[in-house]
Subunit: 236 residues, 2 copies
DNA sequence: CTATTTTTTACTGTATACAAGTTGTATTTT
DNA sequence: AAAATACAACTTGTATACAGTAAAAAATAG
């Protein structure tokens, strides 16, 4: 009896958010109002209100007289992202170190615990969502209404970029995730120590890690195959 | 015959935005759905969609089963604002200098012309809106989807803060506005010259001007009136 | 057979009616 | 008289039916 009337709207919102963050709904995908309202037992009116809200948060794009779409990721996305992210996240972590409440620090530790658990036993989607939650909490800590809109927009595409460039069974990827987890621990320590300089530096480090990792996939080393040779039988 | 059906929704959106930016609708004010839908010839359904959208942009706060409210300005607003604004606007102007198209530069010049006109002949509301438009254009120039959400949120409260601390017939205020106008000219020049360093510096200067001006009003010089003296007959 | 126009179809946008919830007031109880 | 409860008026949330619009299909002209 979990579909408790008023929560169906929240359920829909959460479902769409998770689906978009994990790329189960691809950038540019069309959303069918009739189908979704049917699936969630909602009429189109509240459904469209959810669309409007998610559009405001950057999950969806709305065009008049056309179906709602999952917000696009263009070829300029990565550049724009890595231009803005270090600055915004540096500020967020600096403010988080200054303003975090004990309760929020507990939240962050819980989020990190779940992230580590997802690293061990979870799916790629679980990892992306747990990582997203960790950073969401740092955003809450910063408590600055003027930075959060951009930060939350960044988090959406951070998750999607991570899912896009995720390669299972890759040694570098596993090491990368371990390093990210260590950085999370360092971030928690810096915030708990109210060390704003360290927190800000860690933000930079954290994005550099992401960026370098992605650069490896965007610009891979060329395959060392003689011309005319048969194609490789599935690169691990 | 301007109420051309589909534009009533846009009219409502624009009306609410302008009313909020100019403080005709005060922070925290309740919005009556029935009254507004009546006034704009819209039913409550599209009206509520506009509310949702404006809430996403930071103009309104929505609470379930309660009326929509104009987003609040608390006592921490100014501090949060001046923490975030220089950084974000510095980045916006830097990117604007790098990316502005000739057409956008023309838009900016038009906006500045209208701002100067508002300085000469317009009301305080006209000035705030013209100034807001100028900065909106610089935001468009930056063309970075990750910075714009925060920047646009800043612009909303920039206009409201300006209206709050506006004092007519004040010499300092007049000088301040002239200086702001000169800075706008310099910003246009820096963007046109693709001088990102200058543009970024001008962003800092522009906010320092605002901040100093506001500091004067928040912490005024004490009135030099002997105890027991009659109250001043209206300070000019 | 192609191109253009018309008709159909499906989906988005809006209005209205109704259900659920909140708030203020009046009545009852202590 | 003060507090608590019940009721009434009003506001918000949802469902459904209908209108408007854009894409798709069919039909006609070249």
């Amino acid at each position: 009896m979990k579909e408790d009337g008023k929560s169906r709207k929240a359920d829909l919102r959460e479902h769409l958010k998770v689906s978009i963050l994990t790329l189960r709904l691809c950038p540019g995908a069309d959303l069918d109002e009739a189908h979704l309202s049917d699936a969630f037992g909602l009429s189109r009116t509240p459904l469209r209100e959810v669309f409007r809200q998610l559009a405001g948060e950057g999950y969806l794009d709305l065009r008049t007289n056309r179906s709602a779409r999952v917000s696009e990721m263009s070829y300029t996305t990565l550049r724009d992202f890595f231009l803005a992210a270090p600055m915004v996240y540096g500020a967020i972590l600096r403010l988080a170190a200054l303003n975090a409440t004990p309760r929020q620090i507990d939240d962050l530790k819980v989020a990190q615990q779940k992230f580590k658990e997802a690293l061990r036993t979870g799916s790629p989607e679980d990892r992306a969502l747990a990582n997203n939650r960790f950073h969401e909490v740092t955003g809450e800590m910063s408590a600055n209404v003027y930075l959060l809109p951009s930060f939350n927009r960044l988090l959406i595409d951070h998750a999607r970029i991570g899912m896009t460039f995720y390669r299972p069974q890759s040694v570098e990827m596993t090491e990368n995730l371990s390093e990210a987890s260590r950085q999370h621990d360092a971030i928690i320590a810096a915030i708990e120590a109210r060390d704003e300089a360290a927190a800000s530096q860690l933000a930079t480090d954290h994005w550099n890690l992401s960026r370098d990792q992605i650069a490896l996939f965007v610009m891979p080393e060329a395959l060392n195959v003689p011309m005319g040779a048969p194609p490789l039988s599935k690169p691990a």
